[in-house]
Subunit: 260 residues, 2 copies
């Protein structure tokens, strides 16, 4: 199973501390060694760093660890290949443009039986179930709306499509257009909101701590989302199966829970 990491903030923030622990899961503290990637939104722009090397020995991961890119929305992924060869075209996160916005997507799970028809607007380049699901999602949204809809309507439609696609298997995913971060859980996803008063956090994967009070201002608010909690002295909230959350400005704004 792959590992997902997401961040959504009310002010551009670097992800160095969390990435420090997360990237060690790519071949060191865990066995997700089939490539990795990270996307940083900076306003409307986006840069995606990809590598098909395991993240613990990747020169690109070294760069990301040293270069404090400040971003309001980040999505990272460490791959354990279930479908599709290990190559760059199959490395998450994936990017497409819709409505004059970049959209970034990463997936953890398996959608073996999912083979939707090729779209008019979006087609996969690689051979993963994940990119197929992403293109299908984009296609459905783009066909429904030729201009960006209201956020509530968009959220409802993403929830509907996520439920539909989830019928084909495990569909934990993160999706962002640089403003909001959509997070959908089939099996494992956890989040935490960090806001004042800030405390010291300690990484699960490495003996590293950070005192957030020393690197933040009192109005900063940061949502961190990960497959498994990254710290061992903070309280993370588990998402329930079928739950979709839209994070904006560092907090959950819209929540959809599956009827139980």
């Amino acid at each position: 199973m792959c590992q997902l990491l997401g961040m959504n903030c009310n002010t551009p923030t670097d992800i160095l501390f969390s990435f420090e622990g997360f990237h060690r899961r790519g071949g060191l503290t865990d066995h997700h060694a089939d490539g990795w990637g990270i996307a940083f939104f900076e306003n409307k722009g986006c840069r995606v760093f990809l590598d098909d090397k395991p993240s613990v020995e990747s020169p690109v991961a070294d760069l990301v660890r040293r270069y404090p890119i400040k971003s309001e929305n980040v999505i990272a992924h460490i791959r354990k290949a279930t479908q599709g060869e290990i190559n760059l075209a199959n490395t998450h996160p994936f990017m497409r443009e819709m409505w004059g916005q970049y959209w970034i997507f990463a997936h953890n799970g398996n959608l073996e039986s999912f083979h939707p028809e090729a779209g008019e607007h979006y087609r996969p380049v690689g051979t993963t179930d994940s990119e197929r699901a992403f293109c299908h999602l984009m296609e459905k949204l783009r066909v429904k709306w030729s201009e960006p809809p209201e956020e509530d309507a968009l959220f409802e439609e993403v929830a509907r499509l996520a439920a539909e696609i989830s019928a084909n298997g495990v569909f934990n995913f993160m999706l962002s257009n640089g403003q909001s971060l959509f997070v959908h859980c089939s099996t494992h996803l956890h989040y935490i909101i960090r806001r004042a008063p800030f405390n010291t956090a300690h990484l699960v994967d490495d003996d590293v701590s950070v005192d957030f009070a020393s690197v933040t201002t009192p109005r900063d608010q940061v949502a961190m989302i990960a497959t498994q909690p990254l710290t061992d002295n903070e309280r993370w909230t588990a998402l329930s199966p079928g739950e979709l959350i839209l994070f904006r400005d560092g907090e959950p704004r819209l929540i959809h829970k599956q009827a139980g």
Copy 2:
């Protein structure tokens, strides 16, 4: 004016030597200090490194200088902003997906009066004339063909569209889908084909030489294309205004010259 650099080869090759000279033009030997970017195709996959810092002081450029990514098609760009703010969304090269292939584009010039209608399939995210031209080009190709056409037909159509768009100003550009590299000249572009017997080349921008014989095999063939020649002891060929060349496997395969 911006600077363009392209490479097309018959075998995956690193661009370290040429990038060494090229990146110095971003703020050191020349004044193109408004960000830079480079895209590497690896089979169908593509990674794009972008930075809105000048390339001579960019940590991302440091990574690219040290990490020998082997690629058959590379497009790099150093920006001197003429239109659009200096930010990541306006940094070349730009990427879109068409026909299940990634397409990469970078532009040098100015198309001040060019404001085409928003497309059905592709829209700009940033505010540059360059991204507008790229999206327009993609839109026209996608509307004409819903599946990838024969290379000759595609080349003729790109030549027609390039001539049409060029009526709005200066349109030097590079475009690639990972198989072929299209290069169009309005004003300044030069290329060189390196093949056996290989010689030693010396950079214009830095006192660095490389003996290509020691790093190649006899069947390697590499086309380098740049705004201005990168070496001072090799013979570069200047493209003529209105000329479009399709490079494949390290050599010019199709050439369109403007009727004189």
